[in-house]
Symmetry: C2
Subunit: 344 residues, 2 copies
């Protein structure tokens, strides 16, 4: 292979879609021995699940590095995003009571200490809000110009009763799909801010820990699969759920809650709200008989008032998502390419 | 406060010494609620230890981000360093059988895929060598120029029988101090390579997982405290151990194993081997009666042939390290300031 056609990492590799998954499968999964029997690395789920040797439960572990730009944005900051992202990934596996979070900072030399302080303050507050203790950490400094300001890794650990974790792949025909609130807020708000648009303050990120909301939903009925639609948005999450369970998903587009501000800004920016990150929302499959009870429980939660049933799982179209637009059906595919770099 | 005297992050804040600890205490520890009862965040140990609710043991969690430059160096690479660093931090707490490691990559757009591939290959091999399964991961891409090539966070999880973890603060008067091999190899080798010196290939990093070596030592006698002397070197680790246990440590400088190549290169570079990172060595306190047995067991291990007893714990000079140079005594202080940025 000549230097000129040397394969390089592109921003599309970080966009959370198919190119990233292929890269991870090719580069990492094939190389790592993996002791996580229940949900291994190869499942590319939100985290891993493995039984503790003494039979006392299953360990759930998840990790995320956060590189969002700007670090402080409308509705949140990189610290709140880091804690929420990791708490939410644990919750997506059914581990709604995190037992440990880690905080590892990489900071650029020359960054004002006050900036780091604000981020730590926010992490502490969000950790308390989520009931997720930060128990250990690490700090590295890179030279000026070697990293853009700050990156944060948070890793989360939870324990669930053996066999009670919720995998991405759990959908069955007949399950209803619920989204817990308006879609597209984080991505559209962040992008509009980054592009210098001012939509009169109607837009802000939805970044928040949703573990309590998820616990409420799980108490109300049988939740079969969950994703938090971050990078790649609801479109990517639905496609992953359909593909992993080898089922079809039919979505009623008009039922998807999207705020007026997000819809308008999305049109101006030329960005589809279904394709962008949410940082405080969940899409979940629920057994048909339980769907109304789960929806009611979610709507009664302070974070769930806009929740809606948006579709159902069908036997046809295995691995695909069909969108009923109100004027006809089309496949909803996941966004490819770079979409929005450094969105989380 | 005016802009001109605004406090900024400096490379000294990442050097692993007192300035870093102060920053962490001021910025993070004070802000984070921490549920880790046995070893909390505030202990600034190698990781956290907390009891599992069902009484089945204590959970040990540790995290490290790795930003070493260059990414490939004599004796290793950033992937081997990341896995070893985290496995070793778990081992320092007494968790010699990791149950899960995470791998979170931040990669610069434009990085050759082959570079990432080599790093993943190395992580997989080191994970297998250590018996430490990588169970989950994450990938983020930053724009070209936003990060220098690649940073890796690895977080590790282990379980130990309740109460059997080994804290940094465990030293008691009379304990012997053992180092498991030659000191200074990683730091001196990396710095000489970075500065363009060629010491005829005698120098290379010692980066390796030492969990098996540690298990061997713990089987042979009572290990009371352990550190892997990474950033800040043996000098920093000894000072931390003395300070946390509120004891004095007397070290016989002539007993510290240092290779001829490291000693010579250290002189040429003007760097003290006791002040630089090791990535495959341990300094441990051992109960006096067990010291010979533990030393023999370590020396019989493939990674421990150069091990030596280098000193002992005394009641005087609480919190200080006294170095007997052979020509008299002096306090061994920990290095301050930036020393070697991006050494790990």
């Amino acid at each position: 292979m000549s230097d000129t056609d040397e394969e390089v990492i592109t921003e599309a590799h970080g966009a959370g879609g198919g190119q990233m998954r292929e890269l991870i499968e090719e580069l990492a999964v094939s190389r790592f021995e993996d002791g996580a029997a229940d949900v291994p690395l190869a499942a590319l789920d939100d985290g891993s699940v493995q039984r503790l040797a003494n039979g006392g439960g299953s360990l759930v572990v998840t990790t995320d590095s956060h590189v969002v730009k700007p670090q402080f944005f409308r509705g949140g900051d990189i610290g709140r995003l880091a804690v929420s992202g990791t708490v939410n990934d644990l919750a997506m596996m059914g581990a709604t009571e995190p037992i440990a979070l880690t905080c590892s900072l990489i900071v650029e030399a020359g960054t004002p200490v006050e900036t780091v302080e604000r981020v730590m303050e926010s992490m502490g507050e969000t950790s308390e809000e989520a009931g997720a203790p930060i128990t250990t950490g690490d700090t590295k400094v890179m030279g000026s110009g070697d990293i853009d300001t700050i990156a944060i890794n948070t890793t989360g650990v939870g324990v669930v009763p053996q066999g009670s974790h919720v995998p991405d792949a759990g959908l069955s025909t007949g399950d209803k799909l619920i989204v817990t609130g308006t879609i597209g807020d984080h991505g559209i708000s962040l992008l509009s801010e980054r592009e210098g648009f001012d939509f009169e303050g109607d837009l802000e990120s939805d970044v928040a820990p949703v573990n309590d909301l998820v616990a409420t939903a799980m108490d109300a009925g049988e939740v079969t699969a969950m994703k938090d639609p971050t990078r790649g948005g609801l479109a990517t999450s639905l496609n992953e759920m359909a593909s992993k369970a080898e089922v079809g998903i039919e979505i009623d587009e008009t039922a998807i809650p999207i705020s007026g501000a997000v819809a308008s800004a999305g049109e101006v920016l030329g960005i589809e709200p279904l394709n962008v990150a949410n940082e405080g929302k969940v899409v979940m499959g629920v057994e048909s008989d339980d769907a109304d009870a789960v929806l009611a429980a979610i709507q009664a939660h302070p974070q769930g008032e806009d929740a809606a049933i948006v579709g159902e799982v069908v036997a046809d179209h295995a691995g695909r998502v069909i969108l009923d637009t109100g004027f006809g059906n089309r496949y909803l595919s996941e966004p490819e390419g770079e979409q929005l770099p450094r969105i989380c």
